[in-house]
């Protein structure tokens, strides 16, 4: 009995530690930078974390099965360039283009999922292959040139607000709610945890493990498609170089949020708090005029700190 209680206490500490760190960071930032705790800046932060937040949600779902998705940056680039190309040239209604972008992302995720699940290939390698294929396809599609002159109503997705909340943030919240419901309320979500915890046991208990493993990459690809729309609208152009390195930020948010890379354990809200933490660090260091070279070091140390906590938790 007391053992169990101790377990709960531990969990509480771990749960709140991340939030304490974020609050601590906010306090520090508010003290050292008078421009941090302003409405404009806080809205900036929540807008700026949207892309990474959405990618990290997809990444978390993949990591829960013990996988990893290195191709998110490239999928973002290809979905984004397709979005820009269709908006400029096809004359299709915006909503159709947006749907196509999401489907393109999902299909690229399907490639990952199919080879991981049905060919038993290592996720690291399969998604690495998609990472370079996706980037190559992007350059082929646009001939290396940015695609610009996008319709202004599309750009509102990047810079617009509804009831004072930036549109990218609203999209992040919707994606988060849908993914949370999926993970906690649907059978499919519980299967994801089961597969990540022990896929043999999951298979024995009648779960279609291969299908689950495939679907998580499709979901990650879908998240990339959504993020690509926001990114394209934000920079008002489809860029062949877009999204490079974004997989690292998504993995960082996931790990900081407490999701185990070996699968089976993790919470979606932790990932969001992780993304917020990284967003505040980026924003704060920008406000304080700290060179991006140091920003990278700080980010690296935060990731190390998170993983140390994680490995202690496992013992």
């Amino acid at each position: 009995m007391s053992e169990k209680k101790k377990g709960i206490d531990k969990k509480w500490i771990q749960t709140y530690m991340l939030i304490f760190i974020v609050i601590g960071l906010v306090v520090v930032m508010a003290v050292v930078s008078p421009n941090f705790l302003t409405t404009t800046n806080l809205l900036n932060v929540v807008r700026q974390i949207a892309i990474n937040g959405i990618l990290a949600i997809g990444m978390t779902v993949v990591c829960l099965t013990g996988g990893i998705d290195l191709s998110v940056g490239s999928i973002v680039a290809f979905s984004g360039i397709v979005t820009a190309g269709l908006l400029r040239d096809s004359g299709l209604p915006m909503i159709v283009v947006v749907l196509i972008a999401v489907v393109v992302g999902a299909l690229m995720g399907l490639y990952n999922g199919y080879f991981v699940a049905y060919w038993n290939a290592a996720p690291f390698v399969v998604t690495l292959s998609m990472m370079t294929i996706g980037r190559g396809m992007t350059y082929v599609y646009c001939d290396g040139r940015p695609i610009s002159n996008l319709p202004t109503n599309f750009l509102a997705i990047g810079k617009g607000s509804i009831a004072g909340i930036p549109v990218p943030t609203i999209i992040l919240i919707i994606v988060f709610l849908l993914a949370s419901v999926m993970l906690t309320k649907l059978k499919f979500g519980r299967y994801i945890y089961a597969v990540g915890g022990n896929d043999n046991a999951a298979m024995v208990s009648g779960i279609n493990v291969k299908r689950i493993k495939m679907m998580v990459y499709v979901l990650s690809g879908t998240a990339c498609g959504i993020a690509a729309i926001i990114l394209t609208a934000r920079v008002s152009a489809g860029l062949p170089t877009a999204g490079s390195g974004y997989e690292l930020d998504a993995i960082a948010a996931t790990v900081i949020g407490g999701t185990s890379l070996s699968g089976g354990r993790g919470r979606l809200w932790g990932t969001i708090v992780g993304a917020i933490l990284l967003g505040i660090v980026n924003n704060g260091l920008d406000l304080l005029n700290v060179s991006s070279f140091y920003q990278q070091i700080v980010k690296g140390l935060i990731i190390l700190g998170a993983i140390l906590i994680d490995s202690k938790r496992n013992q």
């Binding site: 520090v28 930032m29 800046n41 900036n44 700026q48 170089t241 704060g284 920008d286 140390l308």
Partner: protein
């Protein structure tokens, strides 16, 4: 449990370290002035100039030094951010600079198209925006200080063609397709080529993305494909020209093929001095940065109202005048 406490302490220490890192950053850059006084700045204290650059290349580093020294002369603070070649991150940084209430923003754009939302953001915030080094892809007028890349492209092509006697085959190593420097340098190349129609043939033109390694591979392959046919290699920057020279050295063709570049970076000047690089076009990075800050200052003071493009002089550097650079800006 103890270990967990330990790791917790570690994270707290890191956060503290982060905070300390932050404050020391402010001290350095604001010259001892605290962050608190920054926001309540009056005109006599000088302006705060926000700047975001695409990436800290050797060239940009020189440009930033030029900015810093002019900002010091004018009594202004310079907030310098590096977008790390990520266009989305650059938009984020412009947002952050606006939130920081800087007086003016100078941008060396990651991408000429993707920077356009920043123009509108700055307009809305009432903060003037100055472009430097990279043009904005817009028809609206804007403040800009940068290189005359068309002239650079003309200079390097003309000199290469003169060297090979007005007749022969050239290949072109382009910058990343779609960047303003690539577009304009190519335009300059083509202006000259138009005069030699029928005499000069362009065997191949491809991007090597400003990269020495990529250019090396590309030129190696070209030397195979066009064995014995290439007379001149025109590169849009020195890095790629140096990659080409490495390929030529490996193939023992240094004496037979002419190479020209743009930028006159230190390695490029050394190659000119050695005679492996025919020449390069020099744009004064420090002057470019310094002029951009001056323009920002003039706009804030109201002495400059018209939005226009100002070009930096471009200078053709050869073996004859390369020592001017090697003994001044590149002196140890």
């Amino acid at each position: 449990m103890k270990k967990k406490v330990l790791s917790m302490l570690l994270v707290i220490a890191m956060t503290a370290g982060l905070a300390m890192g932050c404050s020391s950053g402010v001290d350095e850059d604001a010259g001892g002035e605290t962050a608190g006084t920054k926001s309540s700045k009056s005109k006599e204290d000088g302006y705060t100039i926000g700047c975001t650059v695409y990436y800290m290349t050797e060239f940009v580093t020189l440009m930033v030094e030029g900015m810093q020294s002019r900002a010091d002369d004018l009594g202004c603070d310079l907030v310098m951010l590096d977008a790390g070649q990520d266009a989305q991150n650059q938009i984020t940084q412009v947002e952050n600079l606006i939130a920081q209430k800087v007086d003016v923003i100078i941008v060396a754009a990651v991408d000429s198209d993707a920077i356009l939302p920043a123009i509108e953001m700055c307009d809305q915030a009432g903060i003037p925006l100055i472009g430097v080094n990279m043009l904005f892809n817009t028809d609206e007028p804007y403040h800009y200080v940068g290189p005359d890349d068309v002239l650079a492209g003309e200079l390097e092509m003309q000199n290469a063609i003169d060297k090979i006697g007005g007749e022969g085959n050239v290949v072109i190593l382009e910058g990343p397709i779609g960047q303003s420097a690539q577009i304009q340098r190519l335009e300059g190349n083509e202006n000259v080529l138009a005069k030699y129609e029928g005499k000069i043939e362009v065997l191949a033109q491809q991007t090597a993305n400003w990269s020495r390694e990529e250019a090396l591979t590309l030129v190696e392959n070209w030397l195979e494909t066009f064995s014995g046919e290439i007379d001149a290699i025109v590169a849009h920057n020195d890095e790629m020209a140096l990659g080409a020279i490495q390929a030529l050295e490996a193939a023992g063709l240094t004496d037979q093929i002419v190479v020209t570049g743009v930028d006159a970076i230190l390695d490029g000047c050394n190659a000119i001095s050695d005679g492996t690089l025919l020449g390069s076009v020099y744009q004064d990075a420090a002057k470019e940065g310094s002029d951009a800050v001056q323009k920002a200052y003039d706009v804030l003071e109201g002495t400059l109202t018209e939005k226009e493009l100002s070009y930096i002089d471009m200078k053709w550097i050869t073996k004859d005048n390369v020592d001017e650079l090697l003994t001044t800006i590149y002196a140890e």
